[in-house]
Subunit: 122 residues, 2 copies
Amino acid sequence: MNDAQAAQDITVCGDDDIAEQEALQDVLIDPQTANRLAEIFKALSDPSRLRLISLLMDHEVCVHSLETAVGMSQSAISHQLRYLRQLNLVRFRKEGRHVYYALDDDHVRELFAQGLLHVEHG
Amino acid sequence: MNDAQAAQDITVCGDDDIAEQEALQDVLIDPQTANRLAEIFKALSDPSRLRLISLLMDHEVCVHSLETAVGMSQSAISHQLRYLRQLNLVRFRKEGRHVYYALDDDHVRELFAQGLLHVEHG
DNA sequence: CTAATATATGAATATATGTTCATAGATTGA
DNA sequence: TCAATCTATGAACATATATTCATATATTAG
């Protein structure tokens, strides 16, 4: 029996059974945790952002190189980078006219890598 | 040096260096992969859905129990369950008037668990 | 059969989101 | 200094999304 099937082991229905409702409350994540978790996953929920993130995983890249690599407009890229910046998921370094971005969050790095594994094989 | 800092090792900027641009193309995920990846993360990008998913991780739960547990309206829950159903992330089993839902995707299970670990500790 | 219960659904609405367009700011080269 | 380059930003717009409201469907109880 795999993990997905194991979920069927415990069945919860009806308010009559107090123990079952308590079991649910034990696993239910609280609203604040849900918000913070959603914030992380939302950063990974857009194809354009994911393509940018894939480039920033192991490289420090300037905006123009991102532009030519992914084929998005400079403005769209800059807006997405600001979004990632505000979540502290990337760091940036200014050098002359260029600004170099790099992924700066190992949680996102791991989630991205794990998600990619799943999408690529089974 | 941690993983996040390691990303700084390689710097890419400028179209003059062909090798650098090729290095980016190697790690850039293709649009189809980005779409499928975004689809998974998007399912995990809403606090209400995350709370429902937390309940369905290890239990098979009927809609009414979900309602009392998370405090959402029956309609809102039903809409979110349809969303998860259409992505084949949950399975459901009808028994009389009740419908029991359970998480049915180990990828989502792993991503949720890993994300939660990160949110809870460091 | 009828009423009550459990779940699903479509329409409407408000908000969020990603992109474009135009433009601003900053740095360098001539 | 002036023009060119690189990046950031605000407004506008179109689309997506989550919820509510009203209602439909299905099953069971009486």
